[in-house]
Structure formats: structure tokens, C-alpha cells
Symmetry: C2
Subunit: 155 residues, 2 copies
DNA sequence: AGATTATACTAAGGTAGGCTTAATATATGC
DNA sequence: GCATATATTAAGCCTACCTTAGTATAATCT
């Protein structure tokens, strides 16, 4: 059993996530995008499946429907998304991006890309690829997001 | 610019971190270890450098000294650590693990190992190695923890 | 038709993991 | 002496979720 320390897998990932978040927040703010990282994530998920139902979105994001509702409330109030009726199930609502929301995707992506570039500086491309492959596997293994059929990728 | 989506680097890492944390929490609870993941991390850092000063610990962990104080308060109250005077600087305190705290390291490590195994299932060993290498680089690149000279490794 | 389950939401409150400003007492270094 | 360092207290804030409880409405199953 190797020594428990800062480089232990779980702590390492947690560190990275925290640092990523800090950097992302900074870049997003610089870009003048008025969302939090988690909100950005919600937007990204919606962008991936525009018109998605709230419960499906929650499932995809691996969080409770109620938490999703909170995020959607904020995003809707900010004019970034709209929620409209589902013609096939009157209980449900489908979430779509507004033009305002859609316009935010590029700066968000750019901010993310910038952070990613910083993070990956000096890492061999093959290691980067391996990292991404492993990361996808990790996420799947740890259970969660049932993705729609991969429709082209990543990054 | 690739499409923004759930597999975007930053969101992917965030997802993994969140899932790791959930799994870790569950395993820790199963093991009957009364700490939160963040507390476990603090313990791990202390274990790495027993007798470390609080400010150094904060720096190592990439967080503010005051936040560290909060964590240490909890851990000390739980009898897992002690804070004693630094013979070389009377302003400072050195943090050490108690026997109680030390005894928690193994179950914590085991819990972490279990989660890691789950996460890495089916990932080629070479990809695992690459992942770890890249992860270390990522953390360094994103800035933070000045590590003591690597004194043997990891995982 | 009635029972059960599903969808979105409101209300309320909580945990965890930090952060910040402000200030204090004491100690160290120049 | 003055500036900086160390740990701490006080207070309040933000983000990212979670949970129980309940409601109105709708869909599905028996």
C-alpha cells in the first residue's frame, strides 16, 4: 500500500479540479461572461442536446432534478435559456438556449481552451490523448451520465 | 474550436472529481472513518510532513491559512492531530498526527485505492501511467503546491 | 376508474469547501 | 523602531450541491 500523500490519485484529481475551476473562473470573468463554472456546465449540456427535458438533463449531469431546477431558474432569469412545453408530455418542459445563451458558448469554450492549454503545457500529445481517453473511462466507470451516442468528439 | 460539451476537458475533470468524491465519501463512511474528503486530504498532507507549520501546510495545500486553521480546529477537536510550539519560532505551531489520526491513514488509503480501482477498471496500464504523469504536470502547470523533493512516489 | 408513478416546482434548511476583510497578540528580522 | 510574519478570532459571503415535504398536473398501469 503506497504512502498516502498529495499525489494520491483522488487528491491529485481533486487538486486539479479545484485549480481548473479557479483558472476557469478567472478566464470567464475576463471574458465578461456572467456565469459560474457550474452554470457554464449546464449551458454546455443544454447546448449538446438542445430541447432536452429537465429530468433527462439532470440525469445526464449526474445531479438531482431539483438542483437542476435551481440552475435553470438562474439561467432563465438571465435570459440564457427558455423553458417551454413538451408537446409529447404536458408535465414536462424542454430547455433550449436563447440567442443570448448561445452567444456565450464561444467565449466559454475559449476560456476553457485557454485553461486547458495552460494545464497541458509541456505534456506530450500522446500523453494528452491517453489522459483524455482515461478520463472518459474514469467518468464512465464511476458511473453516471448516459451519453447520447458519441457524435463526434471531444475537447 | 471543438463543440462545447460534457466531454470538454474542464467539465470532464470536474465530473470525475465530483464522482470520485461521492465514491470516496461512501467508502470512507463504510470504513467507519469519521472525516470528510477534504479533511482526509489535510490528514494526508500532514502525514507527508509530520510536524509541518500551518502556513507551510496552507501553502502546500493551495489554500488560505485561515481555511487551514478551520480544518485543523476540527481535526484537533476530533483528536486526530495536535498543534504544538515550534522551538524555532514562537509564533508558529507545528502540526502532528496523533495515534488516532495516524490510525486513520490506512483505511483512508484503502478507501481511496478502492475508488481508484473502480475508476481505472479497464484502462490500460500504460494509459494509467500516462494519466498520472499528465495529472502531475497539470497540477504543476496550474500552479500551486510547492512539493518537497519527490521522495518516492505516488499513488 | 382508481392507484401508482412521473414531471416540475415551491419551501426550507442543510452540508461541504472554500474565500474575504478586519483585527489582535505575539514574535521575528532588518 | 518598524515592517513583516504567524496563528487566530469574528463575521459574512459564495458556490455547489443535497434532503425532506409537499403540491398540481399528467401519464401509465391494473
Amino acid at each position: 500500500m503506497p504512502p498516502l500523500g498529495p499525489d494520491t490519485f483522488g487528491f491529485l484529481i481533486t487538486d486539479i479540479a479545484r485549480l481548473l475551476r479557479r483558472n476557469f473562473e478567472r478566464e470567464i470573468e475576463r471574458a465578461g461572461v456572467p456565469v459560474t463554472p457550474a452554470e457554464a456546465r449546464v449551458l454546455a449540456h443544454i447546448a449538446r442536446c438542445d430541447g432536452i427535458r429537465q429530468t433527462v438533463l439532470a440525469d445526464r449531469m449526474g445531479m438531482s432534478p431539483m438542483s437542476v431546477t435551481s440552475f435553470l431558474d438562474s439561467l432563465e432569469a438571465a435570459g440564457m435559456i427558455t423553458r417551454g412545453p413538451d408537446p409529447q408530455d404536458r408535465r414536462a418542459k424542454r430547455v433550449t438556449l436563447t440567442d443570448t445563451g448561445t452567444a456565450l458558448l464561444t467565449p466559454i469554450a475559449q476560456a476553457g481552451q485557454k485553461v486547458r492549454a495552460t494545464a497541458m503545457a509541456g505534456v506530450a500529445p500522446s500523453d494528452q490523448d491517453a489522459f483524455h481517453r482515461a478520463a472518459l473511462a474514469l467518468r464512465d466507470n464511476l458511473g453516471s451520465t448516459s451519453q447520447p451516442p458519441a457524435e463526434g468528439s471531444s475537447k
